[in-house]
């Protein structure tokens, strides 16, 4: 390649890195001396380095740092390996204070609690997280990550104080309910349950100790009926302004069961916790606007727009703000 033949970016980049052999390098330089377009390309290449170097690298967010501390504390605990319980239960509120993550809880206790309590405490996600707090993996010698060995022992020990804390948060916890829950916690949340979302729990004898509450369906999200006709641009606005003013629906409405079905479908798809649902329209078509926390601290939500009959997405799920 000489004379009026131009060089491609890759060759020029290799020249800049000193990767070309002496002869080729000389040819390219001779060409560059007379070719402005190739000189421009070379400047573009240099600019890439400058732009990359100038891109700020943010410090680790406090939430991530806390999460890592917690994971390491858990690791230290498992290493100590004694069969004795924790000297003191972890302070979940403190640990999770700044954490931007809302992970679906993988343990079944909070879901039950929420179902029992949500008539009075509709914000299920306010229940302290009791799921196994960290997903651990090990870098094996070849550099791949393999899942950490399962540690049922630790999980079991942590389940107790966490459930106790959750129970304390329940205003109406009756003696019967708490006893059941604690007994439940004892099995250490073996296996993983679906995200603690959404299904209105059918009232049943053991879960509704007081008869005056048996008519109420409990749900873990706020259901509103704004009848607002949403558009894509409206959904890019902070959603709280649109959903919050509409009055929350309580108890039975003829559509509540169908809504619950769709919420459950959405949460199974997204693996996130649904916290608000609005019955409205999307571009003139009947729709459910389903909001799940993506990053609660950052008020980031995933918005699913589904038709209320078949629960099919009416548009691609997207990120929005609350």
């Amino acid at each position: 390649m000489t004379g009026d033949t131009h060089y491609d970016l890759e060759t020029l980049a290799e020249l800049a890195e000193g990767l070309l052999d002496a002869t080729t390098a000389r040819q390219v330089r001779e060409h560059l001396a007379v070719c402005d377009p190739c000189g421009e390309l070379l400047a573009d290449l240099a600019a890439v380095r400058e732009v990359l170097a100038a891109t700020p690298t943010p410090a680790m967010p406090m939430g991530v740092a806390l999460r890592i501390d917690k994971a390491l504390a858990a690791e230290a605990e498992s290493r100590r390996g004694g069969g004795v319980g924790l000297a003191e239960p972890p302070d979940w509120d403190e640990l999770m204070r700044d954490a931007p993550w809302e992970r679906p809880a993988g343990v079944r206790e909070p879901a039950r609690l929420g179902a029992v309590a949500s008539a009075d405490a509709p914000e299920l996600s306010e229940v302290p997280e009791v799921s196994e707090p960290v997903r651990l993996g090990v870098v094996s010698d070849d550099g791949t990550i393999v899942p950490a060995r399962s540690r049922t022992m630790r999980r079991r020990r942590w389940a107790m104080p966490a459930v106790a804390a959750a129970a304390a948060a329940v205003v109406v916890g009756t003696a019967v309910a708490s006893t059941n829950l604690l007994a439940d916690g004892g099995d250490g949340g073996a296996g993983s349950a679906p995200p603690p979302v959404a299904l209105p729990v059918q009232p049943s004898a053991q879960e509704t100790p007081s008869p005056d509450r048996s008519s109420q369906r409990a749900r873990a999200y706020k259901l509103t009926d704004s009848s607002y006709n949403y558009s894509d641009s409206a959904l890019r606005m902070p959603l709280a302004g649109l959903l919050a003013p509409a009055p929350a629906l309580h108890g039975d409405s003829e559509s509540a069961g169908q809504v619950a079905k769709c919420v459950s479908a959405v949460s199974n798809r997204s693996k996130l916790t649904v916290f608000a649902v609005d019955q409205g329209q999307y571009n003139g078509q009947e729709a459910l606007i389903v909001a799940s926390w993506k990053q609660r601290a950052a008020k980031k939500v995933r918005i699913d727009v589904v038709d209320p009959f078949n629960c099919k997405n009416l548009r691609k799920p997207a990120l929005g703000r609350w």
Binding site: L9, E10, A13, L15, A16, E17, G18, L19, R29, L32, A33, G39, L41, L42, A43, D44, L45, A46, A47, V48, R49, E50, V51, L52, A53, A54, T55, P56, T57, P58, A59, M60, P61, V64, A65, R67, I68, D69, A71, L72, E75, A76, P100, W101, V134, R135, L136, G137, V138, V139, G143, T144, I145, R236, S270, Q295, R302, P317, L319, G320
Partner: protein, 211 residues
């Protein structure tokens, strides 16, 4: 690693090196490893965030890496710097995640990221905008080129240091960087005019032209 300095607060902790902390950790000092984490977490975070381009993924990767380092401390051999060793674990955790992600069929994250790009926050500064464009552009590169560019061009490590972290020859790092830059140049060239980069790059160009 040539930059930034090994310890953020050299004045406060003049005596204890990373290697000493690691030894203390192996010998059962319960606080030694947290000190190592404190010293290096920001850089590990930066590497993971830039390599993966997604804060959730980066957090998982850094956490996995630190937990793994905690467990494997005893296998650390003193011939490499502790920082190099930590970087290696973090980068491997990232690369592993990228490999797994490329197999996963779910395009949910991409959707959401696309939405994020379409919905710039109102308080966005030019700097943040550039940062997002860079992130998006880096994602178009193959994993090995991305990792090399993050270490060399973004984090400012020498080619030799990056080669140690990536466990490949220096020439390979150079060639990955060159190919990566060649791919990024058309995408990022418009940013050249936004800052005062012109001056620098022309000088560099002239220098290369003149041999």
């Amino acid at each position: 690693m040539n930059s930034p300095p090994e310890t953020p607060s050299a004045a406060e902790r003049p005596a204890v090196t990373d290697a000493e902390l690691l030894t203390a950790h192996i010998n059962g000092d319960p606080h030694a490893f947290s000190e190592i984490v404190k010293r290096h977490r920001d850089r590990m975070w930066a590497v993971a965030l830039r390599t993966l381009g997604d804060p959730d993924e980066a957090a998982d990767a850094v956490q996995d890496a630190f937990v793994s380092a905690y467990r494997k401390a005893a296998t650390f051999r003193g011939e490499a710097a502790v920082t190099t060793w930590l970087h290696r674990i973090v980068v491997n955790a990232c690369l592993d995640r990228m490999r797994r992600k490329s197999v996963r069929p779910v395009a949910d994250d991409e959707l959401i990221e696309a939405a994020e790009r379409e919905t710039p926050l109102p308080d966005q500064t030019v700097e943040r905008e550039v940062s997002m464009e860079v992130s998006a552009a880096l994602k178009l590169l193959p994993a090995d080129q991305r990792a090399a560019l993050v270490l060399v061009d973004m984090m400012g490590y020498s080619v030799e240091d990056a080669a140690q972290v990536l466990q490949v020859p220096s020439g390979t790092v150079k060639s990955r960087c060159a190919r990566g830059r060649a791919k990024l140049a058309p995408i990022l060239s418009h940013l050249r005019n936004r800052t005062d980069l012109n001056r620098v790059s022309s000088a560099k160009g002239a220098e290369l032209r003149d041999g």
